[in-house]
């Protein structure tokens, strides 16, 4: 405070001095701005011109135009490679950091041509066709970045796929010269043919510091668990061969050996097996009597007979997915590393290993644990109503007698009319809440309201007055045994109409059930949440415009997630009045039935499958219809129909 006071007191004295200098000051200011302007202009225009020039030469460029880098004899050689390297010791995870996509960024060094002091290249092949393909595939993928500052993983463009074509020492020196080398940290090398005669090391012999190695042919001693990636040795043959579709049924050969360079010890063992097993075993080797040519790699022979290779091997989807091309190998490697860096977003074992057929037909419900939840928390009844207050009150009164009822939630779906005053509602022993909705949508009954604090939800229409307290309590007990299913009273069926060639909705009393209607059904609150947030939009719109079929949609949803059928409880088939026929007034309408059939067809097409499962059973109390004192039965009042 004191200092600043002193300053301001000296302030006025400064102004005259400024006055004398202001001309120069302004000129300087002006020229600085002008200079800045020119500079920015240059920055703006130059890179553009350079880039377009690069684009222009793109088609004409070739590997021979790569800039030449001359290595000096004394240039640094990296250390051999640390066998104790693990992701947490040799990998700089800060470079990858947290990102919402959980995806690593991969940078590829521009191609350079390294030569020694005498001008001899470090590799006899230079950039190989396969490495070119690999790098191109990566640069076309989501992993790629051309911004070295954002990269988490660096891939040198120095091709080390085949150690035999490399000069080990010079290659190592070249690696160390890469601008971001930093002891090989976060650098990835692809090598398929490691080692050389006579002892054939199982990992690349090029000294490489902390490089992460994607290598073919690791042994368990050279492979660093969770750090290196073991990759297959790509066969250039597979690029230009169409493999035949796999035929179902047993195959001609039981065991096939088409490996050529087999040591005599193994060969002796294989031949012994062949003697024991005969035709089932086919041992192929190089063809000795073929005319010379590259095609010999594509042939295998057994006793003078020639077989096409690799057609003789059978294709498999694993091969298709992960081994068939350099692209597949490269991107699989990156995904594996990505999974290590973001393990919480890693692909699951099933995602990696299940063939598409299994992925399609299998189910994976997050509620997979066989739990029978305790009775005590009870269930929340959610009554959907529009304006039938009298009937609603009757339903409320009836439900309130169910011992396990925890709370009653009335979903008031009428925007034009307010619900009755609080004093008019029936007095019941559990909390009663009214939720008003913004729109008259049937799906409002499935919203996962915060007011629902129990797992179990009873969805019930405001005119279901026939269900007895015993029936409802029993329904809840059955739900506890099957908490991942729809457990309800009105059972329905879908049928295949052979004449029309499409699905048909059936509400007659049948021997089978594939749906239970949510006019009176228990289900887990999880499905409310899934219905609201994950139901295909197509189905939601359909159900909104037709004002129908929300219950069928729920049946599809649950069956699709769990792969299980719903459970119809008790013989109850009449719900609204004793005189009513089984099917209520609305459902009698023929057009309504047609519409519900349409719903089934529509939903089946959206889901891409028919998830509903047909069963022939319903759940009854253990002593139902037994000649046994009624008062000793837990659920005596199970209505007849």
């Amino acid at each position: 405070m004191y200092a600043s006071g002193k300053y301001s007191s000296r302030g006025p004295a400064l102004i005259p001095r400024m006055k004398t200098k202001h001309r120069i000051y302004y000129i300087t200011l002006f020229s600085v701005v002008l200079l800045g302007l020119i500079a920015t202009g240059m920055f703006q225009f130059w890179p553009h011109s350079i880039e377009s020039a690069a684009d222009w030469t793109l088609d004409k460029r070739s590997v021979h135009d790569a800039p030449l880098v001359r290595l000096s004899v004394s240039s640094l050689i990296p250390e051999r490679g640390d066998l104790s390297c693990r992701m947490h010791t040799c990998f700089d995870v800060y470079r990858c950091g947290y990102n919402p996509k959980n995806r690593i960024k991969v940078y590829i060094y521009p191609l350079q041509k390294f030569v020694d002091e005498l001008g001899v290249p470090i590799s006899s092949t230079g950039l190989s066709r396969e490495y070119n393909d690999l790098l191109s595939a990566i640069s076309d993928s989501d992993f790629y970045t051309d911004d070295v500052t954002r990269a988490c993983l660096f891939i040198p463009s120095i091709d080390v796929l085949n150690q035999n074509s490399l000069r080990i020492r010079e290659t190592a020196q070249a690696l160390a010269m890469l601008p971001r080398w930093d002891k090989g940290m976060n650098h990835l090398l692809f090598n398929m043919l490691p080692g050389g005669p006579p002892d054939y090391n199982t990992a690349l012999d090029v000294p490489r510091d902390r490089v992460l190695l994607a290598g073919g042919g690791f042994s368990t001693w050279t492979y660093r668990q969770g750090y290196d990636v073991s990759i297959p040795v790509y066969s250039p043959l597979s690029a230009d061969v169409e493999l035949p579709e796999r035929q179902p049924g047993p195959r001609r050969y039981f065991i096939l050996s088409s490996q050529t360079a087999i040591h005599r010890e193994y060969r002796a063992e294989l031949e012994r097996l062949k003697e024991e097993n005969g035709e089932a075993l086919l041992l192929l080797d190089k063809c000795s009597n073929l005319s010379q040519g590259a095609a010999s790699a594509r042939k295998r022979c057994f006793k003078g007979q020639i077989y096409d290779y690799p057609q003789i091997l059978q294709a498999h989807w694993f091969w298709e997915a992960y081994f068939s091309s350099m692209k597949a190998i490269g991107l699989t490697t990156l995904q594996i590393i990505n999974d290590r860096i973001y393990p919480y977003a890693a692909r699951t074992y099933e995602q990696w290993n299940n063939p598409p057929v299994v992925k399609w037909s299998s189910v994976n419900s997050p509620l997979f644990l066989p739990l029978i939840p305790p009775r005590a928390p009870g269930f929340t009844a959610v009554v959907l109503t529009y304006d039938r207050v009298e009937s609603l009150f009757r339903v409320i009164t009836e439900i309130s007698k169910v011992p396990s009822l925890a709370k009653l939630l009335v979903v008031w779906n009428n925007q034009n009319k307010s619900p009755p005053e609080e004093s008019l509602w029936p007095k019941i022993g559990v909390p009663l809440k009214v939720v008003r909705t913004k729109e008259n949508k049937l799906s409002n009954r499935f919203f996962p309201y915060d007011e629902i604090e129990t797992e179990a939800v009873l969805a019930i229409d405001d005119d279901i007055i026939m269900l007895t307290s015993d029936e409802l309590q029993f329904g809840y007990e059955v739900w506890r045994e099957f908490p991942d299913r729809l457990v309800g009273y009105p059972g329905r069926l879908h049928l295949w109409d052979h004449e029309m060639g499409k699905w048909k909705y059936e509400s007659e009393w049948t021997n089978e059930v594939s749906m239970v209607l949510t006019g009176a059904a228990f289900y887990h609150k999880y499905f409310s949440y899934v219905y609201t947030y994950k139901m295909p939009l197509d189905i939601k719109n359909w159900e909104y415009t037709h004002m129908n079929c929300e219950d069928i949609a729920m049946n599809f949803l649950v069956a699709n997630i769990t792969g299980k059928a719903p459970i119809k409880v008790t013989p109850r088939k009449k719900f609204k009045c004793p005189e009513c026929t089984a099917i209520d007034g609305l459902s009698l309408d023929q057009t309504h039935m047609v519409e519900r059939s349409e719903c089934i067809n529509k939903f089946a097409s959206v889901f891409g499958t028919m998830p509903l499962k047909v069963v022939e059973h319903r759940a009854d109390p253990v002593l139902y219809k037994d000649d046994f004192p009624e008062k000793l039965k837990s659920f005596p009042n199970i209505g007849s129909l």
């Binding site: 693990r86 360079a261 074992y349 290993n353």
Partner: protein, 743 residues
């Protein structure tokens, strides 16, 4: 004048700005183009460096001429390589190939020998539990000549020299063991190694070629495919049975009161102190509660830092159990050692573990896919990543992570026995590699200990994976009729039963297990049926032979029948259609119940009509063939021989077994209660059911079985399944299973 100058300046500055703007100089902050461009300049990045496919023909990376000219026989001999490996790769570089003698397992299978305990050797309770678990397992052999794996009777669990449990002179004692052989084919269990201050993983003995089953093992010391990482468990960890998982509810949304919690010691200095010292940065005392205390050890006051008093006060405010059970995620940071008790505690509490222990080889990492049950973090990213990662995990993922914690806890961790058996099964899978378990068998219900790959390596042969594979069980069954009385007349119940069962459209085959003392009757005396009837003489004529996994069972489903069971074709058909929906359970007619008899402090068995049931007897029940295999191989000889001696309780034992696998009740179908003629009529024929001793035996069985399982696996159900139109007032002609109503 001054004003003019000011205007001029303002004008010139403005003009400059406009110019700059026009040329795009400050375009970037206003309308940011592809963000990379401006970063490039900063990094000295050369534009055009984007990798593009080089056109034109390039050489392939390998040339065939090169490979083909190579003579493979000039290479080192593979056998020579193998021998060299076993010499080269011992000790720290052991692998199964180089340090394990597979030939020992070839003759007798995977058998485990435990050295006899020597007098005067002190042994911790935990190690005793380990040894008795092995001795009670199906792997145990008392004959070292038959063994493929050897277990020391010297307590190696605690190798912390400062610990009172530390066994001295272990080195010499181990060397003097008869079968030691440099440690080959031995396994050493260890929970603690090394001591203050550096806590190295040194055991203080030369383990040579022996495998380690060790807690808190680091990836550096872990020999992949050779050692087994086991969880750290406490002295109180039960030998058998074990606590169930805590999860009972699936509340939606699945979030609990806290997002992330931790409560534990803080080490101010030394190894493993960094992570815990940094926790306070993330603590927010609302939904992320990470508490540490400095109050441990004798002279903590001497070392305490500025935060200690505040931390200690905060620490005392929260109850650990309360936090554990009310948090979605639980932090498991390393302590002095890599593993901590927090891990198992979190798993049991269904609190998804968030691992912060770099370099810890997680328990049973060889077979458990931990990403499905835990969040594996990096200590280096504690501050940047952990809170945001944990918050970003989707609800569905939380549910499935949580369920997986419970499954894994109950499948592999909740008792010493499970930990030990899992260890042995892992090694067995390595030894018998062609029949090892798949990842799915280990990582999905009911888990690897109940899924024996010797039965089949095809998942579709088990009752557990139909939904996972998207396949259905085979829609036929094999009836197995257990016969103990001789054939005397064509009208005796078994004859009627055979005819009725064989008439079922789902029946593939009937097998008669002939456990009668009389010789086999002539073929023509059996009724003529459309499906084959195979008669097998029971092995030793014991009752367990009805549950043998006969090769002649060609179906997934088995309909198990007593000789005097009365069942109609319709009833068989209906039960089978129900079973198709519940292939992992017992589905059948005769229901029974168990109860806890408080006055006698033991389990009771009742055949009275009750409102619930927990068993369906195998006198008339359908279940998966695999349970025959489990019954025969998984259950201990002691229980089976008890059943055989009494010729009783085999049905109860089967129910115990199936419920302990499925964790669910069996399913009773239809109203039918009496399923035997002897029960229906006033027949005075001698039946084992009328024998009061028979009933008393069953009470005894219940308690014997419960004690072997370590818990009561039976679960009650209150419902039965009837045909959809059962006893409905509609025309009988509309009903598919109309005969069921005629009782």
């Amino acid at each position: 004048m001054q004003a003019k100058k000011r205007y001029l300046t303002l004008f010139s500055a403005g003009a400059c700005l406009i110019l700059v703007f026009c040329f795009g100089g400050i375009q970037v902050p206003l309308a940011r183009g592809p963000g990379r461009r401006d970063d490039r300049g900063v990094a000295g990045h050369r534009p055009g460096a984007r990798w593009r496919h080089f056109p034109g023909s390039l050489q392939p990376f390998r040339r065939w001429e090169q490979d083909w000219s190579d003579d493979p026989d000039e290479h080192a001999s593979p056998r020579g390589n193998r021998d060299a490996n076993s010499g080269l790769y011992g000790g720290k570089r052991c692998r199964m190939d180089s340090c394990f003698n597979f030939t020992l397992c070839e003759k007798n299978g995977f058998k485990v020998y435990v050295y006899p305990q020597q007098k005067g050797e002190k042994m911790s309770e935990s190690y005793q539990n380990i040894l008795s678990s092995i001795e009670g397992s199906m792997f145990y052999t008392p004959d070292p000549g038959q063994a493929c794996l050897f277990v020391l009777s010297l307590d190696t669990l605690d190798r912390d020299q400062l610990s009172p449990q530390y066994v001295h002179n272990l080195k010499a004692k181990v060397q003097s063991l008869h079968q030691w052989n440099g440690g080959r084919n031995h396994i050493i269990f260890n929970l603690y190694s090394g001591t203050w201050p550096d806590y190295t993983e040194d055991l203080g003995l030369d383990i040579g070629l022996a495998m380690l089953a060790k807690a808190s093992i680091s990836t550096e010391n872990f020999r992949p495919g050779f050692d087994v990482s086991i969880p750290l468990f406490s002295k109180e960890h039960p030998r058998t049975g074990g606590e169930r998982g805590y999860l009972k509810h699936n509340t939606i949304p699945p979030y609990r009161k806290y997002v992330l919690v931790f409560k534990g010691k803080r080490y101010l200095t030394g190894i493993g102190s960094d992570t815990r010292n940094a926790l306070y940065h993330v603590h927010n005392s609302e939904d992320v509660v990470l508490l540490t205390t400095c109050k441990h050890g004798k002279d903590w006051q001497k070392h305490k830092d500025a935060r200690c008093d505040r931390d200690n006060a905060e620490y005392d405010k929260y109850d650990y159990r309360e936090m554990l059970y009310n948090s979605t995620f639980c932090l498991v940071p390393r302590g002095r050692r890599l593993g901590s008790f927090r891990f198992l505690e979190a798993l049991q509490a269904a609190c998804v573990p968030v691992m912060l222990s770099n370099g810890w080889e997680l328990p049973f990492s060889e077979i458990i896919d931990w990403n499905t049950a835990a969040v594996i973090g990096d200590e280096r990213l504690l501050l940047q990543v952990i809170p945001s990662t944990v918050r970003s995990i989707h609800q569905d993922k939380i549910l499935s992570l949580r369920h997986q914690t419970q499954f894994l806890w109950e499948a592999y961790f909740n008792s010493v026995e499970k930990i030990v058996l899992t260890t042995l099964e892992i090694i067995q899978d390595r030894v018998l590699r062609h029949t090892s378990r798949s990842n799915l068998m280990w990582n999905s219900l009911p888990g690897g200990l109940f899924t024996l790959p010797q039965y089949s390596t095809y998942l579709g042969d088990f009752p557990f994976y139909y939904a996972k594979l998207g396949v259905k069980p085979y829609t036929k069954f094999t009836a197995i009729v257990h016969v103990v009385s001789p054939l005397v007349s064509q009208s005796q119940p078994v004859m009627k039963l055979l005819v009725a069962v064989a008439k079922s459209q789902y029946c593939a085959q009937v097998i008669v297990v002939w456990n009668c003392d009389k010789p086999l009757p002539a073929k023509h005396r059996w009724p003529v049926t459309s499906v084959p009837v195979i008669v097998i003489e029971g092995e030793n004529k014991v009752i367990s032979s009805r549950f043998l996994p006969y090769d002649t069972i060609p179906t997934d489903a088995v309909l198990s029948l007593d000789e005097d069971t009365v069942l109609s074709t319709t009833e068989v058909d209906f039960a089978f259609t129900v079973w198709l929906s519940f292939p992992d359970r017992i589905v059948g007619y005769p229901a029974r119940s168990h109860f806890w008899d408080g006055s006698k402090e033991r389990w009771g068995y009742t055949s009275k009509w009750t409102n619930d049931y927990s068993m369906v007897l195998t006198g008339a029940a359908i279940y998966h063939k695999y349970y025959h295999y489990l019954y025969t191989t998984y259950l201990p000889a002691s229980l089976k021989s008890m059943v055989d001696q009494m010729s009783n309780c085999e049905d109860i034992l089967m129910n115990f077994l199936v419920s302990s696998v499925s964790k669910l009740p069996p399913i009773k179908v239809t109203q039918k209660k009496q399923y035997k003629e002897t029960m229906m009529g006033q027949s005075s024929r001698a039946s084992r059911w009328a024998d009061p001793d028979h009933f008393a035996q069953r009470q005894t069985c219940m308690n014997k079985f419960a004690s072997w399982f370590g818990t009561m696996p039976l679960v009650h159900s209150q419902m039965r399944l009837d045909p959809v139109l059962f006893k409905d007032q509609v025309s009988i002609l509309r009903k598919k299973y109309r005969d069921i109503e005629r009782l």
